[in-house]
């Protein structure tokens, strides 16, 4: 599987064929256990190419060049993991950006900078 993450509390592995499947798994687990997910690896050219940065806005803009219909949240989360961010860290920051109007969601779980 090209996308693998791990529960921070229990170490349980999540293996997925798409990055957004990891996001879906994170959300399902949120109701069941108080844990976050950290990336083990993500095999995607955009994740590999985009430079590591603590600025999530900058990373979204870089990734936006790779996707016509929005950056999958999972790919963004995998890219931010280069800075040690968990899936929860990224989703929390994405929520803040969305609420501030600086990103939009052309389709579910895919975002673009405004």
């Amino acid at each position: 599987m090209p996308f693998v993450a791990r529960a921070t509390e229990t170490g349980a592995r999540v293996e997925a064929s798409t990055a957004n499947e990891v996001i879906a798994s994170y959300r399902r687990q949120q109701e069941l256990i108080d844990t976050d997910l950290e990336w083990v690896f993500a095999e995607h050219p955009a994740v590999t190419s985009v430079p590591a940065s603590d600025s999530i806005d900058a990373v979204i803009r870089e990734l936006d060049d790779y996707f016509e219909n929005g950056v999958p949240l999972g790919v963004l989360a995998a890219a931010m993991s280069k800075q040690g961010w968990t899936v929860g860290d990224t989703l929390s920051e994405v929520y803040e950006l969305r609420m501030s109007g600086s990103i939009w969601e052309p389709r579910a779980d895919h975002i673009r900078p405004v």
Binding site: S25, E31, I33, D34
Partner: protein, 368 residues
């Protein structure tokens, strides 16, 4: 290969399409998880008034809360005003606490018994509506505008939900399981660990694997060394079955909750198990929750005398996890085969009568 839709013959498994068809997954939400008593969580997680957690079963999300009369109640997580989801997902392992249930959309508030407690001024006055005087605004009756309650009942500390309008009593569905479990001091044990695993197979595939041990010699070699399978037996009842696994050597009484010198695994239809291990002063539970027709979540909880596990208990949990991982490998391989379409209907052996019971209950539910 021919498929026999009649599975009263003990050799006939439920046809493979019932494991792989997305339509069956949708059907099961109504016919199984919408009709039978389904495990929600452990009462010890919410001991104070206002303590709550949420649980999603199929498409329905429920708030399970302890009210001011010390009763555990359940409500759809849906506001009676315009249907908004009210509280965020809250796991049993990290419960929330609230004085009242409030919807963040228009700030309707409900008592812990579900009655409407208050609405903002904008629902009592018609300031924005030139067609209506404030005096003509009809008030909202507290009980008639309350939350939609879901039936709950308990077996000891285990809280169950039922979404049917007129369900059979939990005591009837549980049968002797209820008295047997309630004879043990299950509520004296604390939640110590939860592991959630997502597995790539239908939930019934794993349920079937849990229910038999013909695969144990070849696949659980570490565990099986302490078990006398020849002296074990698998007991089938109306809606539950019990796997009695006899230990080859006597186990210290202090390492068991139950009387019998055996491991005792209870499967309670449709998707809950209680695992009395026989080698640990504690117990475990599994919830086998479908995600879709090809995936499920195994929610494994462990309870010991103290929430902080001893080294021996941690080692025990690791052994249990090893069994799970071994089983995940098996059921994913089985499901891969079933998905290929090469086998339209599996055959069951004489010691897979528990699996047959599982399949019969599924078929009865589909046809009800």
């Amino acid at each position: 290969m021919a498929v026999s839709p009649d599975i009263t013959d003990e050799n006939n498994a439920l046809p493979a399409k019932y494991f792989t068809d997305p339509g069956v997954h949708e059907l099961e939400k109504e016919k199984i998880f919408g009709q039978y008593w389904v495990y929600a969580g452990h009462a010890n997680a919410i001991t104070e008034a206002g303590a709550y957690f949420t649980r999603t079963i199929g498409d329905k999300q429920v708030i399970i809360v302890r009210d001011h009369d010390d009763e555990i109640r359940a409500f759809f997580n849906v506001c009676a005003h315009r249907g908004s989801k009210m509280v965020e997902e809250t796991p049993m392992t990290n419960p929330g606490n609230m004085g009242r249930i409030r919807c963040p959309y228009h700030m309707w508030s409900y008592d812990l018994d579900g009655d409407l407690e208050s609405t903002p001024k904008s629902f009592k006055e018609a300031g924005l509506n030139p067609e209506l005087d404030d005096d003509d605004v009809c008030g909202l009756d507290a009980s008639e505008n309350g939350l939609n309650e879901v039936q709950t009942d308990r077996i000891g500390p285990f809280v169950f939900l039922n979404f049917a309008d007129d369900p059979m009593p939990l005591a009837e569905q549980a049968g002797t399981l209820k008295t047997e479990l309630e004879d043990m001091p299950l509520e004296e044990y604390e939640h110590a660990a939860r592991y959630v695993s997502e597995v790539d197979c239908n939930w019934k595939t794993f349920a079937g694997n849990y229910s038999e041990c013909d695969h144990c010699h070849a696949n659980h070699q570490d565990w099986i060394t302490d078990i006398e399978l020849d002296e074990s037996n698998l007991e089938v009842n109306d809606y539950h079955w019990i796997l009695h696994y006899t230990h080859d050597e006597d186990v210290d009484d202090e390492l068991r909750i139950h009387q019998e010198k055996e491991a005792k695994f209870y499967y309670f239809w449709p998707n809950f198990t209680v695992n009395m291990y026989g080698t640990a002063d504690g117990y475990g539970t599994y919830i086998i929750d479908p995600i879709d027709e090809g995936r499920f979540q195994l929610i494994a909880d462990y309870y010991f005398s103290d929430a902080e596990m001893t080294d021996a208990e941690q080692e025990f949990v690791q052994t249990s996890r090893q069994l799970q991982e071994e089983d995940f490998e098996l059921v994913e391989r089985q499901y891969e085969g079933l998905q290929s379409g090469a086998l339209a209907q599996a055959q069951l052996g004489p010691n897979e009568h528990t699996v047959h019971k599982l399949h019969r209950l599924a078929q009865e539910a589909y046809e009800a």
